[in-house]
């Protein structure tokens, strides 16, 4: 394992990307991290039910929720930064209205869903719909009218994972045996339902192009062209459940790169041609324990992988390890890049959180003008 006193070690031959860090501590394991679209706010949730909001412009932090004991498992800011949501063990949707930097967030009354532990909820990109997986239903809370949307998606099993397409017009939802694609904006259109042999634990639409990736419990990966309308490629033989996915926002030769995590493996997929065998895997074997989270830096061909082994790997677009970040003895659970692609937040399994400024590597810097300034 690569260790250095600064908590960051550069792989031989490259200049360190990471210079200094900010960190803090919650009571229990960090379950989720989320940045506001303008990069001015970072929310951090824990398995002990804490929700911490860091407001970088005002330079202050506030514990929005701390006196509860029920885990929070999914959090997120609406695209316009008006709302912050959290769901978890208590089975309620929690919402706050954000008045802007320096203004105290205002909590809504919790909305009970009566469907047990909630762990999947996602805001629509560039919209105000929030999709919430509530048992065998996917419900939508509409921020424009501040109430539940009349339509909902019914599934034959418990909804496991949700994802919006980049244009916000399509919502994918998975349960055991089915992948459903729904356009909630068109009430006349019936959801498209595709049978699957297993269940998708992770879903992700590509930010460019129209691809939907599904990480399956049966150790396979499904890749749907045309945002789920075509026939999927299926890739089997992963060492374990495929539990995390991340698309690059950099256009590739035919499609952007896709990173996939199963057990301690990260596999980088790239499409070389349009044939059946056109997708080529590149295994990135370096982590020693389960990889918990993957994220590509926005605007850069830079991948971060977080593992229970207590390290975060930073990889270039071709799968070369650039740098290792250390978790001070804790396994990593969650990752989130700031929208500027220059700051990476991570959460540990014993409540510690970190924020690293990540510099642009030398070669890439020549093509970019962005600095590593913070806040």
């Amino acid at each position: 394992m690569l260790v250095s006193p600064e908590g960051a070690a550069a792989v031989k031959g490259t200049a360190p990307l990471v210079q200094e860090r900010l960190c803090g501590q919650l009571q229990q394991a960090i379950t989720a991290l989320s940045w506001s679209a303008d990069g001015n706010a970072l929310a951090i949730a824990s398995a002990g039910g804490e929700l911490l909001l860091l407001d970088f412009r005002a330079g202050c932090e506030e514990l929005l929720r701390g006196d509860h004991d029920a885990s929070l498992d999914a959090i997120g800011f609406s695209a316009d930064g008006q709302f912050l949501m959290a769901v978890g063990q208590a089975g309620e949707l929690l919402l706050w209205e954000l008045g802007g930097s320096g203004v105290r967030p205002m909590a809504f009354a919790p909305l009970p869903l009566g469907a047990g532990w909630l762990d999947a909820a996602v805001w629509q990109p560039a919209g105000l719909l929030l999709a919430v997986a509530a048992g065998r239903r996917v419900r939508l809370w509409d921020g424009a009218v501040r109430q539940w949307h009349p339509g909902s998606l019914e599934l034959p099993g418990t909804a496991q994972s949700l994802a919006w397409s980049a244009d916000g017009r399509r919502l994918a939802a998975s349960c055991h045996g089915e992948l459903a694609l729904w356009n909630p904006l068109d009430p006349a259109a019936a959801p498209r339902r595709a049978p699957t042999a297993s269940v998708s634990l992770a879903l992700a639409f590509s930010p460019v192009g129209h691809l939907l990736a599904c990480g399956q419990m049966d150790r396979s990966l499904l890749l749907w062209p045309e945002a789920g309308d075509g026939r999927p490629w299926q890739f089997s033989g992963f060492p374990a459940k495929v539990r995390a996915l991340a698309w690059s926002d950099q256009p590739g030769k035919l499609a952007p790169s896709l990173a996939v995590a199963a057990a301690d493996h990260v596999v980088l997929w790239q499409q070389q041609d349009r044939s059946e065998q056109g997708w080529k895997p590149e295994p990135l074997l370096w982590h020693e324990q389960r990889v918990q989270a993957l994220a590509f830096a926005p605007g850069r061909p830079l991948l971060a992988s977080a593992s229970a082994d207590g390290s975060v790997g930073l990889w270039d677009g071709r799968g070369r390890l650039l740098q290792a970040l250390e978790g001070e003895g804790q396994g990593f659970q969650a990752l989130a890049w700031r929208p500027d692609g220059l700051h990476l937040a991570a959460g540990g399994d014993q409540g510690r959180w970190w924020l690293w400024p990540v510099a642009v590597p030398g070669r890439e810097r020549q093509r970019r003008s962005g600095g590593a300034g913070f806040g």
Binding site: Q28, A47, A115, W117, Q160, A263, Q333
Partner: protein, 327 residues
């Protein structure tokens, strides 16, 4: 398929599965486990929300959902809701050190048990401690024909004959005999209001191979094939001559391939030809696990003891198959 984990048992969180037909006293027992001063922090997963609720205790509702992982293969049938909920719960590991799962009264226990052996995450983070089945002495006779009742008895490691204060002793004995015919290897406790000692319920280690047959020493002294005509029953074999591991292995793999769905549980201590150690073995449906245990002790009766619990067992065929495995 073997069901061992690479992670040592001591590093995994113990799980107790609580089954029993409707009204058998599961909620009473759960409340006892949650309020008893046993020094354990217990988390409970229930299916009927609201019935159990004690301040400052971790009680979580789950919606029983069966996942068929592999084209309906019975040993790959698991509880998908448990995989998800326990995955979330394990991030709160410091909040509890024992997990109890209550199944609904009509549940087949096999998918719950198999979840802890088939799912890669749960297998490495948890270990099944025991299946506890509550038997309602007052009403069990009315439900005896229900498949679920017989399956719940068959899969048990600990059987509580509950509500003993409400039946005559003669009736209790008759029920005990009938229960024993189905499951001769479970620890049997007679209770009123599910008042069994907690140390007989939690920390049993019934699925740890070395303790697989130690619950009730001496239960196999006599071979038996019982007279009851229930669909679910058991056969037990005792053999003084040493066995052949190769023959036993191929007999068992053929047996589970052909009859796996009807074979609920098997346990055995085997005396192998030319070996000073005991070989211990157990199975749940098609999941098999076996390993060498301790050496035979001086003065210990060296013999093979083997129990099969299942549905519509062909005692004669099993006997001749077993006999053919003598070295």
């Amino acid at each position: 398929m073997a069901f061992t984990s690479a992670v040592p048992a001591a590093d995994r969180l113990p799980v107790t599965v609580l089954t029993g037909y409707l009204g058998a006293g599961k909620t009473t027992l759960l409340n006892r486990i949650l309020t008893h001063e046993h020094g354990l922090k217990v988390a409970v997963i229930v299916n009927e929300f609201g019935e159990v609720g004690i301040d400052n205790q971790l009680v979580i509702d789950a919606d029983e959902e069966i996942f068929e992982m592999n084209n309906g293969c019975i040993c790959c049938t698991v509880r998908g809701d448990l995989i998800r909920i326990i995955g979330n719960l394990m991030k709160r590991r410091d909040r509890f050190d024992h997990l109890v799962i209550e199944t609904t009264g009509l549940a087949d226990p096999a998918p719950v048990i198999q979840t802890f052996f088939v799912d890669e995450d749960l297998r490495d983070e948890l270990r099944l401690d025991a299946v506890i089945t509550l038997v309602d002495l007052v009403h069990v006779q009315q439900h005896w024909e229900a498949e679920e009742v017989q399956e719940q008895l068959a899969f048990a490691d600990v059987l509580l004959l509950n509500k003993a204060d409400l039946v005559e002793e003669a009736e209790r004995q008759a029920i005990e005999q009938r229960v024993r015919a189905i499951n001769p290897m479970a620890r049997l406790l007679t209770t009123c209001n599910a008042d069994a000692p907690i140390d007989q319920l939690l920390g049993v280690g019934a699925f740890e191979l070395e303790r697989a047959l130690s619950l009730d020493p001496g239960f196999l002294i006599e071979e038996h094939a019982h007279e009851h005509d229930d669909a679910v029953g058991s056969v037990a074999f005792v053999e003084e001559r040493p066995m052949s591991l190769d023959k036993l292995g191929s007999w068992l793999s053929d047996l589970v391939a052909e009859r796996g769905p009807d074979l609920f549980r098997m346990k055995g201590i085997i005396q192998l030809e030319g070996k000073d150690e005991r070989y211990v073995f157990q199975a749940v449906h098609m999941l098999l696990d076996g390993d060498f245990d301790r050496p035979w002790k001086d003065g210990e009766r060296r013999c093979t003891e083997f129990v099969i619990i299942g549905r519509d067992l062909d005692t004669k065929g099993l006997r001749s198959g077993f006999n053919a495995c003598v070295a």
